[in-house]
Symmetry: none
Subunit: 151 residues, 2 copies
DNA sequence: CTATCTGCAAAATTTTTGCATGGCA
DNA sequence: TGCCATGCAAAAATTTTGCAGATAG
């Protein structure tokens, strides 16, 4: 399995040992279509008959996030930590405060800004964490509809 | 105090009673230059000699967020719930990873970006949580100096 | 072989809840 | 007055940690 192989390489490259727990967690995140929380990952592993402890899940996730193999974010609705694989594309999350859906966007408004800050105050930006929240198109329309009806 | 008055009106408009705890919390968020978590709000209230219980803070914050008088988000780094007033005038933090100093900047690269996102995918931005990290001018120069000396 | 990793149990932290009392409309 | 809101204490939920035994390199 080439995925497992690349996980092994990724772990080694980060100076981490290639254990079945770590590899299994990377596999889960590989398959996921949206960020998952620790419990969801734990349950997915149990379903796949992977023997693991929830505290190990947390520890592995934090380790992988530190090494930037995965990305740690957090959910607005129930504020649990969320994790997703780092495909090294620079993306940001749009979180709808109504339906809690997460929309991924590739564009980033920072290239410009980073340059400006550096010129202005000499601050060198290494990175940033950005979460944008608002209301998605679908919810906006639903809300408008509801308002019309209630008049 | 006109702020207190508008809080009273805002609460009434949402069908909520105007209690000193709710008003005090709205006041704290009014003054804040960035989203605050429940504990920070509680501490700010205690500092201002407002008698309140932490569970009331949580309850009030959730109620206000439901009525959309405030916005609930969550922090990426320590995933705690964050709260800010709905029409937030914000600043951003530049955190130096060397000396941990925090530099406040007023400029925000989002006005442009928000417009673009709205036109493109209909997403209406209510706010955003941004953590920028890098190296400040001072540390940059110190590091360069150290490197020169070690050659 | 040994430094790192995991499981387990227990603790720490954040948030929620039940119930009796208090206070706004 | 009546209902909504708060305080208090206790519980629930999420995440972290210490330690002893297991395992990858």
């Amino acid at each position: 399995m080439s995925e497992t192989l690349s996980h092994k390489e990724a772990l080694q490259h980060s100076g981490l040992k290639n254990t079945k727990q770590r590899s299994a967690i990377l596999n889960i995140l590989e398959k996921a279509t949206q960020p998952l929380n620790a419990d969801q990952i734990y349950l997915a592993l149990v379903t796949e008959k992977v023997a693991i402890n929830l505290s190990t899940v947390y520890r592995v996730l934090n380790t992988l996030a530190e090494k930037e193999l995965i990305i740690k974010t957090s959910s607005v609705s129930d504020n649990k930590a969320l994790f997703e694989r780092n495909d090294f594309k620079h993306q940001h999350h749009l979180v709808c405060v109504e339906c809690k859906e997460i929309i991924l966007v590739d564009e980033c408004p920072f290239e410009e800004y980073e340059k400006k800050l550096n010129e202005k105050i000499g601050f060198t930006i290494l990175g940033h964490q950005l979460e944008i929240y608002g209301i998605c198109d679908k919810c906006q329309k639903r809300i408008e509809e509801e308002n019309k009806r209630s008049i």
